[in-house]
Symmetry: C2
Subunit: 311 residues, 2 copies
């Protein structure tokens, strides 16, 4: 990996994604005691940063692979990202979704031209169904985060942030499967100026925090968090990158996530999903340590069910 | 009134307001069959376009008047706008608010440095209390909309929109007391290129619609609308300007307001208040007539109680 490879990645996906705006808020600066730059991936196409990784992964496929399409299993943002990225590149996407997935999510995938294949709502059936599609259609399987091309795509949000604000002291981002934070770590290492990357993770799914402590991939026994985008287990491709390029992970309580989410909704007038509030919650929890620092926050996505809000 | 006076007004308030962004949405273009440009006054300081009019009105005061401060009665966005505009200009503001106003609104006014004077929750006591402050303090009374300087301030949002998109066919905006739409009408007359201004108004408070029909100021007997920013009666300063510079008003049902509001929240990931959804609801109601047109929509504000959402 080198600087020009990373720049190439960013340029490669540019025609297919939004260069999202960076928002500031004097009120949230005051509350946090820091100067904040929010990278608004909630305004990304399909509403989340996942569009970047999906696009990059698909663009790496050979013509022959593209002709046979791609397959993934997801009921979340990655499903929509693969469907939309495939549509904009003119290839076929097969999205394996559990039969009990919310209709609104199925409709979104259909709206982006994805072919939905329903499966039983078990992890085993998901994987088996995706495997079957790979064999039957010759489609290439795309993993939502445990894939270096996906990781490099996700990190381009941090590159855009650092291009506009090269003097950031820290970049905060959420940790779920680890795609976003691993990518952010790589780009910040090459393009930041003594900038370090800090993860925000719910106490309820703190496998990444514990993995960094123990030095081996830990798992979560339960996933009782409102941050539904962060429930996935940390990937083994992501973990060593995080060990190398992420300086620490700060854990937050569920109530802190809700407070942070509400602050951003109320003061910034933008819609973010609960997972997306986790890094800001992490900063607020330990704000004394970061007083007067310049801080970038990756706002990861805005796909939220308006009928099930926590406030 | 002439072009240079209007440009001066815009320049005068510029240091004290945000030049708000203009958002687009391919999904909402598709749904409406038009090309939309949303002027995001929900991102304005204090969360609404009212900041423009309050700032302009205060900047027109003499030094002597400024030294004695300003007074208004409002429990809505204009209260916050007068408090914040006064704070940024270093003058004293007295805000008359009913004793039963929500604590969150009182806190916002206090946060912007306004002096709150509580009154009984009747229109009579509001006016009498404001009158008393005028006499006691020598403060100048500011009306939220029935004032040409307020009207000219509000219209600067349309000027910014037309500077970036001079070829708009129509500009839609909400109608309450008439400050925003009268100002929008004036600026569009001078700076638009065969662009006309269309109002959106709830059926439940359709005094402006009926006034345009009858040619005299009509009133509302009830104000049962979710669009709480549009309940005020049309002003007699605003009405003749609207007669001259607004081509039509389209009325909408309450359910249409909620649908439009939800579409903007879900697709654009931004928070707007119910009043703010009314012009988009008006466009959707009659979208066949506007097919393929370039349309500006003034998104008036984003101050909404997240614990009382209609969905």
């Amino acid at each position: 990996m080198n600087i020009s490879e990373l720049k190439n990645c960013s340029q490669r996906i540019q025609p297919y994604i939004h260069k999202t705006p960076i928002f500031t808020s004097s009120q949230l600066n005051q509350i946090s005691g820091t100067t904040l730059f929010f990278k608004c991936e909630n305004f990304q196409k399909m509403g989340a940063f996942k569009m970047r990784g999906a696009t990059n992964a698909i663009l790496q496929l050979s013509i022959e692979q593209r002709n046979k399409g791609v397959v993934t299993h997801s009921s979340g943002n990655f499903a929509q990202a693969v469907a939309l990225a495939s549509q904009s590149l003119g290839i076929t996407s097969y999205i394996v979704m559990p039969s009990n997935a919310p209709q609104v999510k199925k409709d979104a995938v259909k709206g982006y031209g994805g072919h939905i294949i329903e499966c039983d709502p078990t992890h085993k059936d998901r994987e088996e169904t995706a495997k079957r599609i790979e064999l039957e259609k010759g489609a290439t399987f795309l993993h939502p985060y445990n894939d270096i091309n996906v990781i490099l795509g996700q990190g381009t949000a941090a590159l855009e942030l650092l291009e506009d604000h090269p003097d950031l002291d820290h970049i905060f981002c959420p940790v779920g499967g680890g795609g976003l934070i691993a990518g952010t770590g790589i780009y910040t290492h090459y393009f930041g100026n003594e900038c370090n990357v800090i993860g925000g993770e719910p106490f309820e799914v703190d496998d990444a925090y514990r993995s960094l402590l123990s030095g081996r991939l830990e798992t979560n026994k339960t996933t009782n968090t409102i941050a539904d985008g962060l429930k996935m287990p940390l990937g083994d491709v992501n973990f060593p990158i995080i060990q190398k390029h992420v300086s620490e992970i700060i854990r937050v309580e569920e109530s802190e996530i809700i407070v942070a989410m509400k602050l951003i909704w109320e003061r910034m007038k933008i819609i973010i999903e609960p997972s997306c509030a986790v890094p800001f919650a992490a900063l607020l929890r330990e704000k004394e340590r970061f007083r007067n620092k310049k801080i970038g926050i990756i706002l990861s996505g805005g796909n939220v069910d308006l009928e099930k809000l926590p406030f």
